[in-house]
């Protein structure tokens, strides 16, 4: 039965600490644009914000299907928000089928408000009418608070084709519900459509205002999310844009890439801006050529980066080994997605760690950094460039699909001159210095750049001596392997042990890496409030590993890694302590520290939610 849900009851707004809202639609209806705009407006007003995009893997999936759901989740609050949170409080659905894709992921709870496009109730197709009615009934049975909204009907008063524009009407509606500043909202709409005609901008502004007015006149939903008073200047962007800005900040001159989801948007951004900053984006013919080109540029003294995802890393493997062997500085970004093979292209996973560390034949030492926030996506590119040059080594920066499309405000970086790569050195090479003049203690050496007279050498992936000359001498190969590896130990000695979130000793220590930081710390905080003796650490350096881990682990009764990648559950058939396959960080930590580390991980393609981690902590510690 249709619900007369739109009675306006009172105009008092309810003050809330935070809310999670989702907008889901068919692909191409603009739910993401609507949600991103809402998030930007909220961030600009001073709220904490985190967004997660809901992306179908197909370009144009069939309309009104569960698989085709496209949308966005926005968690908005008074405090800093560090993760996607648990179930949504409010949902806008453009048809009654798309919410099912989220229901199977347990995205909603009893009492979640659903603002549902009503037009399907009166569809010409009997099949659609029936599907609609049965879905509404089903939602209500699940305890969802369904409100049917005449979105299309209202939009038709302003535009002929509401498929384009409904999202801005919805934005207006949400701006009323959450008491967003309408002038900021108008600025945002102008910004979003800045490349369009004045006519299009005006139409979208009209839709925004109409949505706002309609909500004011017809809805009894009105929330206020108090803003954080801060003097600090903030910026807001997604993780891939942050990588792009990191490239600008590092002064990198060559970005060599091949399109791959979910990494490509970083290169889109760079293709737009890098030329203004003295760099160029090269779209190579394939992943292998992309890294080969970057290595060529770096060999010739131009700072270079290649940006890809897991399947791209697989293809680049041979060149990664060459960069390690021949000691060519290079930054490689891996925006991880679900694997193996083509896997889940648009979904999150932390499944590339072992491939990145050990994917090459032989020993291939490299630095691996993992960004855990959008801010770190920015900072780590600058850091990676410097490490690559100083240690003459390939440096990975691992991010993931969650960070790539998520938006979060962070303090505006204060731009520093020493971030940028210095101009290429063409002064004569110092006489007597060999092209691989390894320091016998640290393994470090300076490298000649083509153009430097006196520095002539032939780079080779074959075993070579200090002159760069091919050498099959057994002792030489042993020694040079040690020196390449030694560079990692040298870095390790400069690192501090990771900081501990919570007490320095207790019953349980959670170890995480990458984008799970916010969810882990939120769950740990909640568990501590319930009396659990739990703490967490979060690793940024995965090669070399941060120091002091064994000592930290020794202060806890149990250590548990929490990751988004595959592990056998100890309860699974045939699985025992000897044959169990652990999650990827757990494997490494077990090997490195000989501590019997347990793991909690899954490959559902979703960011981990605090409630799942909390449930695991409760189970481990028998806390209620």
């Amino acid at each position: 039965m249709a619900t007369p849900a739109v009675n306006k009851q009172n105009s008092q707004s309810k003050i809330i600490g935070e809310h999670i809202l989702e907008i889901v639609s068919d692909s191409g209806e603009g739910a993401q644009k609507c949600g991103q705009s809402f998030a930007s407006i909220s961030a600009k007003m001073g709220n904490g914000v985190w967004t997660v995009e809901i992306i179908p893997a197909e370009i144009q999936p069939p309309a009104r299907t569960r698989e085709g759901a496209s949308g966005i989740r926005i968690r908005v609050g008074s405090k800093k928000i560090t993760n996607m949170g648990n179930e949504a409080d409010l949902l806008v659905a453009f048809n009654e089928q798309v919410p099912y894709s989220r229901i199977v992921q347990h995205a909603y709870r009893e009492g979640t408000i659903m603002l549902l496009e009503k037009k399907w109730a009166t569809s010409k197709s009997e099949e659609i009418r029936e599907k609609y009615a049965s879905a509404v009934k089903d939602f209500k049975n699940q305890g969802i608070d369904v409100r049917e909204i005449p979105m299309e009907e209202e939009c038709l008063k302003l535009v002929k084709n509401p498929r384009k524009g409904k999202n801005m009407w919805v934005l207006g509606m949400l701006c009323y519900i959450y008491q967003r500043n309408i002038e900021r909202a108008e600025q945002q709409v102008r910004y979003v459509f800045r490349k369009k005609t004045v006519e299009i901008i005006d139409t979208n502004l009209d839709l925004l205002k109409a949505g706002y007015r309609w909500a004011a006149d017809n809805l009894d939903l009105k929330y206020e999310v108090p803003t954080i008073p801060t003097e600090e200047k903030l910026v807001v962007m997604n993780g891939n844009e942050a990588i792009g800005m990191g490239v600008l900040a590092a002064g990198i001159e060559v970005v060599s890439m091949y399109p791959i989801t979910p990494a490509t948007s970083a290169s889109h951004y760079l293709a737009e801006v890098l030329e203004k900053s003295g760099g160029l984006v090269h779209q190579a013919e394939d992943e292998i050529a992309a890294i080969g080109f970057a290595i060529g540029a770096s060999y010739a003294g131009k700072t270079a980066i290649t940006i890809t995802s897991g399947p791209g890393i697989a293809l680049k493997t041979e060149f990664i080994g060459l960069a390690a062997m021949a000691e060519v500085p290079l930054v490689i970004v891996d925006v991880q997605r679900g694997g193996p093979s083509t896997g889940l292209p648009t979904k999150v996973e932390q499944g590339d760690l072992l491939a990145v560390l050990y994917g090459q034949p032989g020993d291939s030492p490299k630095i691996v950094l993992a960004a855990s926030t959008i801010e770190e996506c920015f900072q780590f590119i600058v850091l990676a460039r410097k490490l690559a040059e100083t240690f003459r080594i390939p440096v990975f920066v691992l991010t993931d699909a969650n960070l790539a499309t998520g938006q979060q405000p962070f303090p505006r970086p204060k731009v520093q001159k020493d971030w940028f790569s210095p101009p290429i050195d063409q002064s004569p090479w110092k006489e007597g210095v060999k092209p691989f003049d390894w320091n016998p203690e640290t393994g470090l050496s300076r490298r000649p750049i083509p153009g430097q007279s006196g520095g002539i050498y032939t780079l080779t992936g074959l075993a070579h001596n200090e002159e760069g000359i091919v050498s099959y001498n057994p002792d030489n190969n042993q020694k040079t392997s040690e020196l390449r590896s030694r560079k990692l130990a040298t870095i390790n000695k400069t690192l501090k042990p990771p900081s501990i979130h919570g007490e320095e000793s207790g019953d349980l220590l959670i170890v995480g890496w990458g984008s799970t930081l916010g969810a882990i710390e939120e769950a740990v905080d909640q568990a501590i409030e319930l009396g659990a003796k739990v703490s967490s650490i979060h690793l940024r350096f995965l090669s070399p590993m941060e120091p002091g881990l064994k000592k930290i682990f020794s202060q806890f009764k149990k250590v548990l890694s929490v990751e988004i990648n595959y592990s056998d559950s100890s309860n699974d058939p045939y699985i025992d302590n000897e044959n169990r396959r652990y999650s990827q960080l757990a494997w490494i930590l077990r090997a490195q520290t000989l501590v019997d580390i347990d793991c909690f991980s899954n490959v559902k393609g979703q960011p981990l939610q605090p409630k799942d981690i909390l449930a695991k902590i409760k189970e481990e510690l028998d806390v209620k």
Binding site: A43, K44, G46, K233, L234, V235, V236, M237, E241, M245, L248, G251, E253, V254, V273, E275, K276, S277, G278, L280, H282, A284, E285, D286, I288, A289, A290, G292, F293, A294, I295, G296, A297, S298, Y299, A300, G301, K302, E318, F319, L322, P409, R412, P413, V415, K417, P450, G451, Q452, S453, G455, I456, Y457, T458, L459, T460, G461, L462, I469, V470
Partner: protein, 318 residues
């Protein structure tokens, strides 16, 4: 200075490079291998042009011929099998001051590196490319190559190869933006030198197909080339590769050809009567060069870069 009159403009180079200045290790190729001849002629070319060894880079893949950079006293990059082109392209992209040479073999270029080959032709980056085609895998000891003729017996086709070979000239001439295609042989030094010289003069991706002998695994081919002088036709074209009279005499046959006509070039490349046309098949001096794009907006200062970054951050300021 030195008692010279002031109005005498004397362009004295800092240093005169002799052949020895380009010679590094003693090549470890088999006696009778054509690679020796190419190396000698390249060193001669470097000396004739007085190329600054510090500004010259030899890039190769993997294979017998790809050891080439180790024998040149210039900068070198001996990389991965089939991947010389992406590396060379990356080197040259933003370093217009470097003189880049690429050495590749028939397996390296036409088999494992075929994808990169095709795109390198299209990028048309200014480099001198030598395809050493001896129709066999030598370094890995006698396997069939994509350019091996039907019936070639090797360790991987002991009963003779069954597929028709790839014709590298035909392939190269089929790619958009092709700008320079020439063919020569390793045993005719005058022609070899003249061809390499013309390739080096050309601005763009200068592709030189070198018909070669492998004395160890293709000895029959050596004899065939020796006895089959009739099969080689000298391409005669004005503004093309011009030989002196004595060198011309080493050819029994010749053909007139317009190297600006791509259809005529393709006809020569596709000749199926077993004829080899030596010289310049095709040249387009006006083809777009990707490194012209790569060489623009360089040399930004840290201050300029800081300004752009600050602007970008401000766009996202709350």
């Amino acid at each position: 200075m030195f008692g010279l009159k002031h109005d005498i403009a004397c362009d004295i180079p800092d240093k005169y490079y002799s052949l020895e200045d380009y010679e590094k290790a003693v090549p470890r190729w088999c006696p009778g291998c054509g690679d020796h001849a190419v190396l000698t002629n390249i060193q001669k070319l470097c000396r004739e042009k007085q190329l600054d060894p510090a500004k010259t880079v030899f890039v190769s893949g993997i294979g017998c011929s790809s050891r080439f950079p180790h024998y040149m006293k210039t900068y070198g990059f001996h990389g991965l099998h089939g991947r010389a082109f992406p590396v060379a392209s990356g080197i040259k992209f933003r370093r217009p001051d470097l003189d880049v040479f690429v050495i590749t073999g028939d397996g390296d270029c036409c088999s494992i590196g075929a994808g990169a080959w095709m795109h390198a032709i299209r990028y048309n980056i200014n480099m001198t490319v030598m395809l050493f085609n001896n129709e066999i895998y030598g370094l890995t000891k006698n396997q069939t190559s994509p350019t091996s003729r039907i019936g070639t017996k090797s360790n991987t086709s002991p009963r003779g190869s069954i597929l028709p070979p790839i014709n590298p000239l035909q392939t190269t001439l089929g790619i958009s933006n092709v700008s320079f295609v020439a063919q020569t042989v390793d045993w005719n030094p005058a022609h070899l030198y003249a061809t390499l010289n013309a390739a080096h003069e050309h601005k763009g991706f200068s592709f030189v197909h070198i018909v070669q002998r492998c004395p160890v695994f293709q000895p029959d081919l050596v004899d065939e080339f020796k006895s089959g002088k009739d099969a080689f036709y000298l391409i005669k074209n004005n503004d093309g590769i011009v030989l002196d009279e004595n060198a011309e005499k080493t050819f029994k046959n010749s053909v007139e050809h317009d190297h600006t006509d791509i259809n005529a070039a393709r006809n020569l490349a596709e000749d199926e009567n077993g004829k080899f046309y030596l010289g310049l098949l095709y040249q387009n001096k006006d083809a777009d060069c990707y490194d012209d794009y790569g060489a623009h907006n360089m040399g930004f200062t840290a201050e300029q870069k800081m300004e752009v970054l600050n602007e970008e951050l401000d766009k996202r300021a709350i």
